[in-house]
Amino acid sequence: MIKRLATTREAMLLAAIVVLIALISTRFGDFATPRNLANVFNDTAPLILLAIGQMIVILTKCIDLSVAATLALTGMVVAMLNTAAPGVPVAVILLIAVALGAALGAVNGFFVWKLSIPPIVVTLGTMTIFRGIIFLISDGAWVNAHEMSAAFKGFPRHVILGLPMLGWIAILAVVLFHVVTTRTPLGRAFFAVGGNPHASVYTGIDVGRTQFWAYVISGALAGLTGYLWVARYAVAYVDIAGGFELDVVAACVIGGVSIAGGSGSVIGALLGALFLGVIKNALPVINISPFWQLAISGSAIIIAIALNARASRVKGRVILKRAEHAA
């Protein structure tokens, strides 16, 4: 296990992140303090949560471009709920956020499973539909900080052992889904369905149903993040997290998740998200305009897929004996 880890892409990425942090802290010593690193992690938590869901969807040979819209819609619904009924406890809010997100994910999953519509078409469509629905229910208005209850806003910011709740939830999700993907039949099915859909049928795995559950998980995580996001920034409006789905896909691709399906890991998604998070938090520190962010994550996607492709280049059948020894 450890031997396998050391040579993987995850290890390389981890090394890259450490080097990046080290480089920044040689010039700006404050960057690498535990306190600031906890900040960076907490700041990256939403991206980590969504990247885990996206990773699972991509494992099954699909893609979910609607995650940011799901996040925004769920965030708006719970924010409006909080405004209308401030007494509803946070636990119920969390439950509603996860359930609504899962339901929106199930909509995507339904179209992919039952109607075999290409995932990119489905989620491009639901992406705009979900955003439109936010406008319809909110009438284009904002829900501002003073309209939200203190408990609602306080939950993700509650600090335990130096790390806010938001960060802890991300850690919890990483552990939970690492176990789900490596140690449960459903988790193995995600890999099987994306790696070889044809063979999955012969193994008794329902490809469509497995993809459906991947979307439900992705939606549930996006719903959860929707509440956390809205509460943390204490504002909800139509365009929150606009374009965030691209960062999420970027985190996955950088984390070594193969867009062709069947290959990837929760740890990879985590590291991919952290890589982007460190860069994003470093930009203001090293005095580069935040407007560079978009181009940097775009370049990171392109470089990462080029590297992925090189790593997974199909090894041809080696026929010559001589070459077999050389390889």
């Binding site: 012969y202 026929i319 010559l320 004996k321």
Partner: protein, 499 residues
């Protein structure tokens, strides 16, 4: 002894096709039953029904005399039926152990997969079939033969009473096939019922105890293998007596048209060189994986050789892409018709004219009337059977699809045609037609290269044979030197001792 598994009057219809009509099939414990039939006889459909992929429309399936149904693949497995499929149905990204136990892994606390128990169980099963494979490595790191062993281990990981083997030797080398036979004997000894599907008669007569013959989705006959002759089985399969007769040819080779010198590739083949004359049929024999197709694809410009010169009519030609090859008169009929040979969703006429478009068109604009004329001309010569030239190629039978692919290349008026396993997966009737046509092409002065793994075909059709082994030319044979024994010896590497 009563059968452990019995199909009775089983019927399966697909839109427009009746794949099985009221067939029966009995499998007995400790015995190997060979299921014999031409392509399209319904063998694969039976396998899919027995493994829960398809549901029958009528008839009964009995396990130990009790009626059974298999709505999913897992239900079939629960009933003790397991299959080693024709294509490898495995997962490159999962570990060997996970591949073996996917769908029925041992569970531990909280219902989580018990990795340690899974590993040791996988090791036991692999050991039991004599495979020394580390169950923790990822499948993608294994070679083809080992992958096949994992597939067998997977089939044995459930406590199976019925083991289905769907053309299990198709991708195996000689030695691996022998090992498979031993395994079959072992399974028989354990009292398992084995359904063995194969095209190879020598194999059937060697290991089967019983046979069942299907033809066009119907049951034709069954019995003990000891009480039937090869000729009788063939008769049952095709409904008429057929001896494999190859067209008689008067070999009159003309001028040298192709000269290949020193073709090398870092991993696939090494130092391939030969010459080819007009009107000649040059056979390429070898075991599966000897590098024959890989070399042909390099000659055709798909893969790039690291070294090597191609001379056509004595002049050096550089071929970097199939388009270059076609322009120089070399065409290639690939082994994989569905993927490489035909564009199955496009109509027949568009498939036929695809490589000839630049010649047919005017300034890059299509001329439909010309296209239909060309397609009609060449498909007619090959005796194609289709509803119309506008029918998608995918709607045709394998034999007719092959005719479309050959017509496509003949329409380019090539000098050299390479046919890679030209009769693989084609029914016996179409096979003879393809053989006749090859002979006719050679008689018209075309130079033909035929890659084939069927010894009768190689010997029956070729003027000369090149045998390849492990990426190199092992021998070039002609005349009296072309015997089944020499082919097998050179292909398997036994000849080295002699020198």
């Amino acid at each position: 002894m009563p059968p452990v598994l019995a199909l009775d009057g089983v019927t399966k219809t697909f839109p427009g096709v009746r794949a099985l009509s009221e067939v029966s099939l009995n499998l007995y414990p400790g015995e190997v039953t060979a299921l014999v039939g031409e392509n399209g006889a319904g063998k694969s459909t039976v396998v899919k029904i027995l493994t829960g992929i398809y549901q029958p429309d009528g008839g009964t399936i009995r396990v130990d005399g009790a009626a059974a149904r298999f709505p999913t693949a897992q239900d079939a497995a629960a009933a003790g039926i397991t299959a080693i499929h024709q294509e490898t149905v495995l997962f490159d990204e999962l570990s060997v152990a996970e591949n073996i136990f996917l769908g029925h892994a041992p569970r531990g606390r909280f219902g989580l997969i018990d990795t340690a128990r899974m590993m040791s169980a996988a090791r036991d099963i692999l050991h039991g079939i004599g495979a020394e494979i580390d169950p923790s490595v990822r499948l993608r790191d294994l070679g083809i033969a080992n992958k096949h062993l994992v597939a067998i281990a997977r089939a044995l990981s459930i406590d199976a009473r019925v083991v289905i083997m769907d053309e299990p030797t198709a991708a195996l080398s000689h030695k691996e096939i022998e090992e498979l036979y031993e395994l079959v004997e072992k399974l028989k000894g354990q009292g398992k019922a084995i359904l063995f599907i194969s095209h190879k008669f020598d194999e059937i007569f060697r290991i089967a105890d019983r046979y069942t013959v299907f033809r066009d989705g119907q049951f034709v006959g069954a019995g003990r293998i000891a009480e039937v002759s090869e000729g009788d089985l063939v008769k049952m399969m095709v409904g008429r007596p057929v001896d494999q007769i190859f067209p008689s040819r008067s070999h009159q080779a003309g001028d040298e048209v192709l000269q290949v010198v020193g073709y090398c590739h870092p991993t696939e083949f090494d130092d391939i060189g030969f010459t080819l004359r007009k009107g000649e049929i040059l056979g390429f024999y070898g075991l599966v994986g000897a590098g024959r197709s890989e070399f042909m694809q390099a000659l055709f410009g798909i893969t790039e050789p690291s070294k090597g010169v191609t001379k056509i009519d004595g002049k050096v030609r550089v071929i970097r892409s199939p388009a270059d090859a076609v322009a120089n008169g070399i065409v290639y009929v690939p082994e994989d018709r569905g993927k490489q040979g035909a564009i199955t969703a496009l109509p027949i006429f568009q498939n036929v004219t695809l490589p000839s478009l630049s010649r047919l068109s005017r300034a890059g604009f299509l001329r439909l009337a010309e296209e239909f004329r060309l397609a009609r001309d060449y498909t007619g010569r090959l005796d194609l059977r289709a509803a119309s030239l506008d029918t998608p190629v995918g709607n045709l039978s394998g034999g007719n699809q092959q005719k479309v692919v050959i017509a496509k290349w003949l329409a380019t008026q090539p000098k050299i045609i390479i046919l890679d396993e030209p009769t693989k997966g084609i029914d016996i009737g179409s096979k003879a037609a393809v053989h006749d046509f090859m002979a006719e092409l050679a008689a018209q002065g075309l130079a033909v290269i035929m890659v084939s793994s069927e010894i009768p075909e190689v010997l029956g059709m070729s003027d000369r044979v090149i045998v390849m082994r492990e990426g190199r030319i092992a021998a070039e044979l002609s005349g009296a030197g072309m015997t089944p024994e020499t082919l097998v010896r050179h292909a398997a590497g036994i000849s080295e001792v002699r020198r």
